[in-house]
Symmetry: C2
Subunit: 181 residues, 2 copies
């Protein structure tokens, strides 16, 4: 697994060959990007399903744990918004995490309706472990790429996330209205 790097290293280090056309084909690149991102998503969606159970949480629970761990005491509704899920689903996820001892519910002192979610020490530890394990993997992959690519990739990922996220917000949560034909 760590052995993939050898062959393509020089190519990567050398960067893109300076061809006559500096933008050979943005469309082709976009298509490559689409297909590689799709491939990655396919794998990751499966990998995450598989991996999550190693940590005794589902994928959604893992996302929720991360969100709660980073977002401080978080209302169920906010968790739902952050995960793009219905509040009922968020409530159930919170319940599952609570049962497993990774978060606990506490009533908001200022608003009796609100239930605030907080990570327990165990939850914080689990979140950190997942984070570290994945970061370690990513570090292994990133280190073979030049700094501009690494930082560019991170920026691009962020931009993708925010772009899609705003799109989702705009579309209102239910099915969008694109016509079939």
């Amino acid at each position: 697994m760590a052995t993939i790097s050898a062959a393509s290293d020089q190519v990567i280090a050398g960067g893109a060959p300076p061809e006559s056309n500096p933008h050979p084909s943005l469309e082709a690149e976009a298509h490559d990007f689409y297909s590689s991102l799709t491939d990655l998503l396919k794998v990751v969606q499966f990998r995450d399903r598989d991996r999550a159970c190693c940590y005794d949480v589902s994928v959604a629970q893992c996302y929720a744990l991360q969100t709660v761990a980073e977002g401080g005491p978080l209302a169920v509704n906010d968790l739902a918004g952050s995960l793009f899920l219905d509040k009922s689903t968020a409530s159930r996820i919170a319940g599952a995490l609570e049962t497993k001892g990774y978060v606990h519910r506490r009533g908001d002192p200022d608003d009796g309706r609100v239930v605030r979610l907080e990570v327990t020490p165990a939850g914080a530890a689990l979140n950190r472990r997942i984070e570290d394990d994945l970061s370690e993997e990513y570090a292994r992959l990133l280190k073979d790429f030049p700094a501009e690519v690494r930082t560019g990739m991170i920026r691009l990922l962020r931009r993708l996330a925010t772009t899609f996220s705003s799109r989702v917000d705009a579309s209102g949560g239910s099915c969008c209205t694109i016509q079939k034909d």
Copy 2:
């Protein structure tokens, strides 16, 4: 956090001096990468759920359609492998796509057990439309990056996908065996 990175960095980079870390922020970058990729995945998993219905297929069906469209006549088993799904699930997805008229099953002339999946014209058109729509979006996002960075990022994505994919293959498909603590 990820402690392996520093050590292996020198090996790969071929003689990074151990004095000051030549990649002082690799760990930080890996963490950024993790968090931005996670954010993207959260959004995309939702967005895809939402978007797919616009095209009258589920997320898995969309992946399957793409795989069949690109992979030529494809056995159900191969589709399952490509999507990291059980063959029964692949069979059902194929059935759904067949019902919708996007693929059709045909017995393999050389092997009576095998069912080959092929896209119909409608399926090919749908796949192309999805592909074009997304590629267009990606082109808009990519065009702000220099060409070398773009190609580097695409390569990075590919490597991510292949690395994770090989990991999944190696792990055998069922749940891995990492202990909880």
